[in-house]
Structure formats: C-alpha cells, structure tokens
Symmetry: C2
Subunit: 564 residues, 2 copies
C-alpha cells in the first residue's frame, strides 16, 4: 500500500497538532502542512503576556518545551512534517483530492494530492464597519504581527492613551497588557456588561475591579475612528463622545475563517463555523476540520456553538490527526465552554451554563446560588472567591459555575468542569473528596461549600435572594426589614447603607423583640458572606417571621455602590 498523504491547511494550533498526531501514528505517511502566515505553532494565547511584558523573548511564543523554535526545519527534522509557510490554498478539488496553492512571496503556484485533508483555517478578527478603521494606530491582538506591533508600543513608551474596543475575554486581556505598558485605557463595550460568559452580577463585580485600572464605557459602540494624516487621533462613540487616543485595539470577537471550506462544498453551520461530526469529519468524505473554524456541540444544551479556545483546538487536532490515519476511531464529543482569563490580580472563569445562557437556550428550570468565601484559611493569607452556581431543579445536576476573585479561581473552575463532565448532582458534590491542607484550601473547600448552599436552597432550608433582585426591590421602595448581623466594628468599616439595622448574630436571639411585630413583613438578612446571615434567617423563621430571605454572598458579592 502506498504511503498515506495527509494535507493540513493551517499552522497555528489545531493544524500542527493534527499533523503531529498523524505522524506519531504513521511514520511513513506523507504529511504536509500549508500555512498562510510566516510563523508556525504560535502560542497565540500568550500574546497579551508578551505585550504586557511578562516575558521579553518573542521566540518563547514559538518554541517547543525544549526551547527550539518550531519553524519549518524543526517540523521536518523532529516530525518529518513538510511545511509550506506564506502559502495560501486557493482551491481544493475534492473529487480528484488535490489542493492548489500559491506561494504568497514568490507567486509560484502548485498542487498537492491528498488522501485525507484537514482544514484548520482558524478565525479572523471581527471589525466594526465604521469610517477610519484602517488608520495607523488601530490593531487587533490576533496575529504574531499584532503582538509585535503592540509590544513595540510598550517598549517605545510613547503612547499615553488607548481605547480597547470590546469588553470580552481578549479585550480584557489586552486591557491588562496595555495597562502594564503604562497606557491609560478606556474599554468600550456595546453590551450592558463586560465578559458575557458571566452573568450580570458577576460581571459587575469584575467591572468594579477593572475600573480601578481602566475606564469602562458600556452600552456604547464605536461610530468612527478619527485620524489626522492617516494616524488615529480619537475614537468617536455612537453617543457622540470623542475619546482622544493614539492607539485602538479592536477585540469584538472572531469569525470562523471558512471561505475556502464553503467554496469546496463543506457545510457551514448557523454559528458560521464548519459543521463536523464527533470524528471531526465534515460532510465531505476524507475532509476533516478542526480548531477555531469549526462549530461544535455544547454538551449541555446539545446546540452547536462556536468556541474558539486554544485547548479545544488542540484536542480536536489530536482526534482528527488520529482519525485521518486510523479511520474514524476517536471522538471529540463537544464542549461545556470552560474558559478563564486573568484580569490583573483577579481570575475570572466559567464552565457550563450561565443563567443568561441557560435562558437563551430555553432552559428555565434551574436554581442559582452565590457563594463568597476564601480559597484557603485566613491564617494562610486566603483570598476571596465568589462563585455563582447553576443547577437543574429536578435532576439536581450541576449545569454551570462562574468563579471570580483574587483567589484560586482556576482550581475551582476545573472542579466544576469535572463535576459537569461526570454528570454529578449537587447531592454528590456535597461529599466530594478534594485535597485539603491549609496551604491549599479550607477544610470545606469553597466548591463544596457552594454545593452545600445549593443543596440547602434546593431542599428549601435556605430562602435567598441575589443582589440584583434585592436591589430591584430596594429601588421600588418595597418595605422590608433589612438586617445586617455582623459585629459593630465590621459595620463601621464597610456597609451597604440601604436602611439596614445592625444586630450582631450573637445578640439576635435576645433582641428579637426589637424587630417589628409584623411577622409577614419581608426580611432580608446578611453579613460579610451571608453564613451568619443564613443563621439569622433560621432564628427569625423560628420566631415566626414568614418571609425571610438571605442576601446571597453577602456584602462581598454586592456589585453596587455601598455607603462605606
């Protein structure tokens, strides 16, 4: 039998992974990787950290773990993979099984037969269709060239003001990078919140923190980039505001790069991504697709999503590379859209469904709770974590979790991602056997405590309200008894100031007669994190108050302005 011929289009993450996996399964296959840009195997998720100065050696973005730049020579010598860089595939004859390409430097054309084709053409940055978008000083942070440009901006130190267009993951990462470069940043976001994988309350807490570092403008878009002599001078917003700046970075998302795939008859889904099956195969025989150009199944809703994450691209590449050699033996089932980003000293992560995303997908029979507590004991310098958990009311399965704060967010998100993968219920999570020692966690891990709160709520033991709902009722002027049950020194240091009464938990049983006699009056209790608030609610209920709710996450999860 002749040696198998594998052609991979795209050399960033998924493509090289597919090619490498194919090689490991067949030393004799002819494997060719065609890449439009000059670089190969770029660690593109690392761009913001290069720009921000976490490291200075650009080559580290292109190196193997052993410190060798992954260039064409490396791919040939170490992996016997032929790479053609600065080369674009212009057409594919799927009948004859042949790709035609052009060298973008020399203009030379050629063609290459394949037995299996793997499309890994990635995604391209979305750009707002407004005047001036091509001015000097406007960039994205999507390519090695972008990273080089923005790093030069940092190193030269001339630019003082920049606008980041888009408050999503890349926008926020870019904001941190440019802030570390000493630049004053304004983030402009069309939607009413940053980071739409978070629910509103969580996003607001993150926003409060981001605003200590950068200006944030929500519900406003760019209407024009204003220039002088071809150079950016200001960003004009839809409400007419002009923000003077010498730099703008556009980070309003990416679009699957599927032009070639569409042309050759590959089916494209509603999300704009290539439709693939669990084997990463397209509708065309012997044509696979992987990475940011595909859509995949959300494993909770069952609906397709476009989830352009570097980790998934690699996992898909591994599956397609193996299937291209071995036949369709391996599967990539889909995603629960786990993500995380660093926002200065905060981690911000999520997995599974947010409340907003659940509703968008027609899922309404869920319960949510907040937990605010430390990641490890105070005596070990624990840091705050705030989690919002979403669970199905009937099956009691975990549907999603969002975790933010200066604490160890990445472990928490990993725990919830694994809980969802295992199909665990809240009642299984309450007894999870996680690694405990004071340098690493509380005796009851934050995730388990979150499950406890959810179990209490599902069991009807905890009646609670989140800050958004509470604020709405406050704003309506609803008559409520508002009870902060912390100690006076805590109250002096920080408090909501919404008309609350202070009765420390330890005095509540003896001072219950100070409360209004009307046992039907709505009561909301809280403390710093609402554990004491919960205990207070139980005391009040035992004393006949019928309508007591605990403010979830207490003062630590309060996203609005406070009196103190």
């Amino acid at each position: 039998m002749a040696n198998k011929r594998i052609v991979v289009i795209g050399g960033s993450a998924a493509g090289p992974k597919a090619a490498s996996r194919a090689r490991r399964l067949d030393e004799n296959a002819q494997i060719t990787l065609i890449q439009k840009s000059a670089d190969l195997s770029m660690a593109s998720c690392g761009y913001p950290y290069y720009v921000g100065g976490f490291f200075d050696d650009r080559d580290q973005l292109l190196c193997s773990p052993a410190g060798v730049v992954r260039d064409s020579r490396f791919f040939w010598n170490a992996k016997k993979i032929e790479t053609m860089v600065r080369t674009e595939v212009v057409s594919v004859d799927t009948k004859r099984k042949e790709v035609s390409f052009v060298n973008l430097v020399t203009g030379e054309k050629g063609s290459l037969p394949y037995d299996k084709l793997i499309i890994a053409t990635g995604a391209v940055p979305r750009k707002p269709p407004v005047p001036g978008v091509d001015l000097d000083g406007i960039s994205t942070l999507q390519s090695m060239q972008d990273a080089d440009f923005l790093r030069k901006v940092k190193d030269e130190g001339k630019i003082k003001k920049a606008v980041v267009v888009g408050g999503g993951l890349i926008g926020i990462e870019t904001c941190e990078a440019l802030h570390l470069a000493g630049i004053e940043i304004t983030i402009v976001e069309m939607l009413p919140q940053l980071l739409t994988f978070l629910d509103l309350q969580m996003a607001k807490i993150v926003q409060n923190y981001v605003q200590t570092k950068a200006n944030v403008i929500l519900e406003n878009g760019v209407s024009a980039f204003i220039g002088e002599d071809g150079k950016l001078k200001a960003v004009k917003l839809q409400n007419g505001t002009e923000i003077p700046c010498e730099l703008a970075v556009i980070a309003i998302g990416v679009i699957p790069n599927v032009g070639l795939a569409r042309e050759i008859g590959v089916n494209i889904g509603k999300t704009g991504g290539i439709i693939v099956d669990e084997h990463m195969q397209t509708n065309i025989e012997d044509v696979y697709a992987v990475g940011d150009c595909v859509e995949m199944k959300n494993l909770i809703t069952g609906y397709p999503v476009h989830a352009p994450y570097g980790d998934l691209a690699n996992l898909q590449g591994r599956v397609a590379g193996e299937n291209a050699i071995m036949g369709n033996v391996k599967r990539f089932p889909g995603t629960i859209q786990t993500g995380i980003c660093k926002v200065f000293d905060y981690g911000v992560g999520a997995t599974g469904l947010s409340e907003q995303n659940a509703i968008r997908n027609g899922i309404t029979n869920f319960e949510t709770v907040f937990n605010a507590s430390l990641d490890k004991p105070g005596f070990m310098q624990g840091n705050l974590l705030i989690t919002k958990l979403v669970a199905d009311k009937n099956s009691r399965k975990i549907l999603g979790a969002q975790v933010i704060g200066p604490g160890d967010v990445s472990k928490q998100v990993a725990i919830w991602a694994m809980a969802i993968k295992g199909g665990l219920t809240v009642d299984e999570m309450v007894n999870a056997d996680l690694p405990y020692a004071p340098p690493y966690s509380l005796a009851i891990d934050h995730s388990i405590a979150t499950a406890h709160i959810m179990q209490n709520k599902l069991d009807g033991l905890l009646k609670s309200i989140n800050a958004l709902e509470f604020k709405e009722r406050l704003d309506k002027g609803e008559k409520m008894l508002l009870l902060d049950v912390r100690n006076p020194d805590e109250f002096e240091a920080i408090r909501l100031g919404v008309g609350e009464v202070l009765i420390p938990l330890g005095q509540l049983r003896n001072r219950i007669n100070e409360l209004p006699a009307d046992k039907d009056m709505p009561v909301v209790t809280w403390c710093k994190i609402s554990l004491r608030g919960y205990e207070a609610s139980i005391i009040l209920k035992a004393n006949g108050y019928k309508n007591v709710q605990v403010l979830e996450g207490g003062i630590m999860a309060w996203p609005f302005a406070r009196e103190k």
Copy 2:
C-alpha cells in the same frame, strides 16, 4: 412534642460541625457539646503553619471567619449550643439514653439525657513503646498544647537539633515547620520510603527534595529516647546509631479514640475505627459517630479504611448533624482518600489508589504511567509537575493519581479526585474541557496530557517503562540500547549517565544506521520529559526495532542519582 436533645462528644472538627448543622435545622433543639480539652473548634491542620511562623496569632487557629474566637460564649451566643469544656464523658447508658460526665477541673460529676448522641472523640497519637518516651523535649503535633510548645521552641530559638519520628504526612509537615524555625532536622522512618500514600518512585523524588532541607533515615526505628536529668539528649535507633538532639516530635500516625464507644457496645472495625453506616449511624440506635474516630468505606476497593482527614470529618459532621434532627435523610458515601501536603516549595498529593495500595487490595489488572511536564507555559514561569496515574486495564476507568512537584499540585489532584468521583474513563478524560489560559495552564492541561499518555499506553501505541523497572534492568547488567534524544546542550547540563547514546530527535531519522543492527535488542529512549523519547520510539519501531520502550517521565521523573 418536646424539644429534641442532642449530645455531641468531642469539640474539635466533626463534633462542632454536627452540632452547628443540627442547630441550623432545628432552632429549638437542645444541643450540648462536651469537650475534654480546653479549646473548641481548633483548626488543627493549621498547627504546623503556626509552629513554622506562617502566622503569629495563635487565636487565628480558633477563630470563626469573622475573627471571633470560637469559645463557649461564641457557641452559645451565635449558635445556642451549650458547650462543656474540660469535661470528660465517663459512661453512656444507651438504654436510658444518658451520658455521665466529670468536669476535669472541678471533679464535679453530672449526667445528661439525649435523644441522639454523636460521638466525635477523634484520634490519639500513636507512640513507640520504647524507653524514655516521656522525657522532656518529646512531643507530638496533635493538640493545641503541642502547637504552643513547639511554637515556643521556635520563638526561643535555643534548640538546634531535632528528630522527627515518622515520615508520613504530619512528620513531613512538622519537618518543614521546625526547619523554618531554624532547627536541623533528622527524619526517621521505619519503612523504606517517606509518605506511604505515594508509590516508591514518587516518594523517592520527594525524598530527594526533602534531603536538600533535612536528613532522612529510612528503614530504621527508634529503640530508645536517651535523656539526662529528665531531658532528651539523643534518639537511639534500632541499628544502634545515636542522634544527638534536644527535641523529638513523634508523628507515627494516630489511633481512633474509641475506648468509650467500645465500652458502650458500639462496634469497632478491623481498622480500629467505629463502624458506621452511610448515615453515620453506629450499630446502636440513635448513636452516631463522626470524624477521626470512625472508619469509612474506600469507594474504590469497597473496604473500610481509617482516613483521619479534617475535610472528611467536617462532611461527616454535617451529615450526622442533619440526620440526628431529620431522621436518616443524608448520606456520606465514603472516601477515595484524597490528600495533599506542602513540603517546602513542593506540593505532594494523591487521590484514589496508588499502585501499592491497589496491589494490597488485590487489584492487579491496572496500568500505570508517569507524566512530567509544566503546570503552565515556560514563558509564564511554569513549574514542574510529576504525575503517576493508575487506571483499570479493562474498564479503562481512572483508579488513582499521585502528583508532586513545585507546580500547581492541588488543582491537579482536585481534577483527578473529580474524575474518580465521576467514574470517568481515560477515554473521557482525554477530552476534558478544563479552564485554559497561559497564566493557569498549558494549552493541553497537565492532567489531560497524562490521560493522553495513558490512552496511548492502553491502546498499545506507547510501550514504556518506569524508572524503577529500568533501574532494576540496568543493575542486572542487561544489554540494552540506551538512547537520549535531547540536544547536546541539554545533555551537557544534565544526564543520567547510565551508558546512553545521545542522538537528538531531529537527527535520529538520518542517523538510524549508527544504531546496532540487531533489531531485537531492547531499546530504551528518553528525553527531558519523554515526549521526544516517545517520538523516537516510534521512529525506531518504524525502522524495525521490535523491543523499544520509553522511559516514563524522562529525566525529570528519574529518582536515582545521575551522572550530572
């Protein structure tokens, strides 16, 4: 109906948790907690960090998250729980449902009726039955008094040499604490390895690291403590060696404290712990038991184990407290014996079955692999993690994982603990959707890469050998081709020096004719972490070598002395 009467014996972790949970479910119950020592709700897992000077305020070990010392007043005011400290329960009449106690200070006696009794009497330190064990200068690290004593040792700074008897978790934590106090430490362990929850190779790697901080003596026990004027002067070992020291800390494990339980007819298991069902109920009606005094089911083997961990004590307390009030509605299913400890800059953790533990339990149909790689990219200052994974060969389910190193061990162990809880197979783990961003992980998380290696091995793609097996064959003088495929500069910096040939992976295909012609000769390949070693093995196999194995974890997981 009269108010329910709950009596809890024991006030460290599980007892107060049970009492608090009971209170939250019934504001009117009469809840009494009887505690032999003076303190309540001590964060006993924090003792080593207090001794080591991670923090200075002793009260932090006794405080609620809001910073209030959990004394009798706190328990009464905040939780309406009556506490009787320095009080010992001397007998229980399980027919009349009454406990008899004596106040250890005043000698006053009394009795108390109960509807539900919860035994949380904890465990006591094991002590070696050797002469001199009561000398001044010999301590354990089990009680608040021990912690006070050892912290005084640190603060006074007089003691220069100490022996830690026992190389388990507490011994190692004590070693770190005393080292930080400026004391020269010798650890003495009876067994051939430290930290027996690890397999030998992993333990040896940890030992190599510990030996940069302390002396380690294995396979030797204490035969006597030698004193002068009642004060410790030296520890005499079973082989006759005398180690001069002014302090010895005994950390050879704990024994469930079940004297009272046994006397009143509660069934005790083979492990020495109280037998309880999933509701945490003993064989005697209305008598529950929780925490370090009970045995519980290992959820993988099905056999009972004694697992004295603070986190499990709390989870059990919550279940027993609820069941005491509500009837047996909640379950604690058991443990997978997840544990972690800090060893200076290393984390050392495990969950599920080790290879040794599997074999001890009659489980032999498993596969193991090692993975050594970073926790996050090198450009983000990633740190090394070494994982040993154990999986069932037939079902391909994850059975256990051990993780060590300066990297983020706690997240890795949590991931594997959740994988085991979810009953996941290796084939499910390979596509886990974990949070990825460069500040937190590699694009393919260390845990997923470990699953990839295991899948390759189970699928027959990877033939590998671990360092112990390899060393055994080397020591026997077996004729093998030994192939290091790193670059020359790496080879110059560090190498095994076991007779290996260096051929960089990138040159291997062209230099294959330099290798011995005998294709049946056993070959072992490696690199720094054995990813390139794996690729080399594939090239060799494709070139006809029939007996090629990869050294698992490469040089980074090599536990023996190296040439360089």
